[in-house]
């Protein structure tokens, strides 16, 4: 049997896969954070809660309305995005003129509210969400066994990340977004409805988080706590990547997911903290982050 550093290849591949899966979620979530931050200058602490919300909406759609996975994959992110739009319009938009810290504190409160509410109604324990029939089972790749659903998550997240990147870099709407990031007042004077753009941006970020939640539902247990566990790691990802670039957020997400997976092989005790350690090292060597421009 092939071994690398004394561990069998199968173990490496298994953890690499797990790392890629986690990395897919880190990438999608840090992408959403970066998009929101780019325009709104708000660090969305509620991002983890929105991710959890996406998973729960899909679960509730399945149990109460009989809506299957594929419809939920479209509907649940829309529900979360609509919720995000309402929050942005009614409350968050009042905070743009203030110190960005208030946006962080407000969304922190929002995250506590959402999580507390779900914990109150559904308890703290996780609930299973069935893998859709078409994606059940797995295939033998010769060197390892790949559950099809996991392969699907990796492909889907890559497609989503690429689509968002293209949307922002290559479309007219994206050019408005980028222009508003540079100078909102000027863009507004050209007749672009910037407040609407801000609402759409927050909704897009929220929808992405919701979509990640639906994708995560069949892999992890759907629980009110699933958001907080991931958001702190995603913050570290964002610090490592630097929030200046969309592509940077995506790449860093996958890389750190893989780094976490591979650490599980070599030194499992450190797998929880390896991302934070990398963050500390990056901060010491390159404070602006790997892809960041501002100091």
């Amino acid at each position: 049997m092939t071994t690398i550093f004394g561990y069998p290849l199968v173990v490496w591949m298994g953890q690499l896969l797990l790392g890629l899966i986690n990395g897919s979620f880190y990438a999608m979530l840090s992408l959403g954070l970066a998009v929101i931050f780019g325009l709104l200058r708000v660090i969305n602490f509620a991002h983890g809660a929105l991710y959890m919300l996406g998973a729960f909406v899909a679960l509730l759609m399945a149990t109460h309305l009989g809506i299957n996975y594929w419809f939920a994959l479209v509907l649940a992110p829309l529900v979360v995005a609509a919720g995000g739009a309402v929050v942005e319009r009614t409350m968050l938009s009042r905070l743009y003129k203030l110190d960005p810290l208030y946006g962080l504190l407000f969304t922190f409160g929002l995250a506590l509210l959402i999580e507390g509410t779900f914990r109150y109604f559904f308890g703290a324990s996780g609930q299973p969400y069935a893998v859709p029939g078409a994606l059940a089972g797995g295939m033998n790749l010769g060197f390892m066994f790949l559950p099809i659903y996991r392969g699907w998550v990796i492909v889907a997240s890559l497609v989503v990340c690429l689509a968002v990147w293209l949307l922002i870099e290559k479309t007219k709407l994206g050019s408005y977004l980028r222009a508003s990031t540079e100078d909102p007042v000027l863009v507004q004077s050209f007749g672009v409805n910037v407040p609407l753009l801000l609402t759409l941006t927050y909704a897009l970020g929220a929808g992405l988080a919701g979509l990640a939640g639906v994708l995560a539902a069949p892999i992890y247990q759907v629980s009110p706590l699933m958001g907080t566990n991931i958001i702190i790691i995603v913050f570290a990802v964002v610090v490592v990547g630097g929030m200046g670039s969309i592509l940077g957020a995506i790449v860093t997400g996958y890389l750190l997911g893989i780094a976490e997976g591979l650490t599980k092989v070599i030194y499992p005790e450190a797998s929880n903290i390896v991302i934070f350690v990398i963050m500390a090292i990056v901060l010491i060597l390159r404070p602006a982050g790997l892809f960041g421009k501002d100091a």
Binding site: L95, L101, L113, I232, P287
Partner: protein, 328 residues
Amino acid sequence: MTDATHTTSSTFTGARHLRTVMLIAILIFLIAAPFLFYPIFVMKILCFALFAAAFNLLLGYTGFLSFGHAAFFGGAAYFTAHAMKEWGTTPEVGILIGVAGAAALGLVIGLIAIRRQGIYFAMITLALSQMFFFYCVQSAWTHGEDGIQSVPRGHLFGLIDLNVTTNMYFFVLAVFLIGIGIIWRFVNSPFGMILKSIRENEQRTVSLGYAVDRYKLGAFVMSAALAGLAGGLKAIVFEFATLTDVAWQMSGEVILMTLLGGIGTMIGPVVGASLVVTLQNELATSDFPVTIVTGLVFMACVLLFRRGLVGEFYASRLGRRLGFRPEQ
């Protein structure tokens, strides 16, 4: 003109008198409190009030929002509990060990975190304190999920038995007053003035020749050490140290206390801590989750009264007439 100056100076001394009267009233209340309320409850408030005041030292006077103060509070609780239980130290030595440990932790985290500002600083402190949390989950000496249980309260200076509730209470009160005194002195020192000038205009402070990073780090370590003082004290009062004290929720709680009471005021954090601890106590008996209320209060504070209760009072018409200024 003369008339105007005369009025302002007289209202200013009015505020000063009022403040003195208030301070004496609070002091009398605190001395009488253990005979009126459940002493452990009052001690809990005092510990958290000191914690919030230490946190506010950083946020209120340098403008740095730390989302990782639980590491210093909970870390010190572990250090103190370990020293007293395993090494059999007296309470004052145990607390000093806790403070020293928190300061050392503050130095390490501070050195990394002050490389970035604003929201990045908040995210970095959160991530680093989470790293410390995972360390506490896994290492042997913190006993994982169980925490360090049944820590002996011991004899203060080897003489005063802290198992007697009244003794314990007055020890906590003394430490609280010393801690608040240190913070007050620190904020009103030349060092504190430089911190405020960094908060207002960092570039200008640099151009005046101050090594800004050293002052920031100094403030961070000071705040961590004082948070540690509160944490060590809490470990002795409750006779245990657990993961709750190092979890990120604790960092959120101390932010809430400070925000609710009033960022950058001396008594704001104390007021905020009293309210939050009381609220938690009230809700502890019902099955309604505290986080919902906490989340709502957070959102309301940010949207409606960012100065906090004390800050808004200072800025109100009545507060101004009494001679308070909105800032500090």
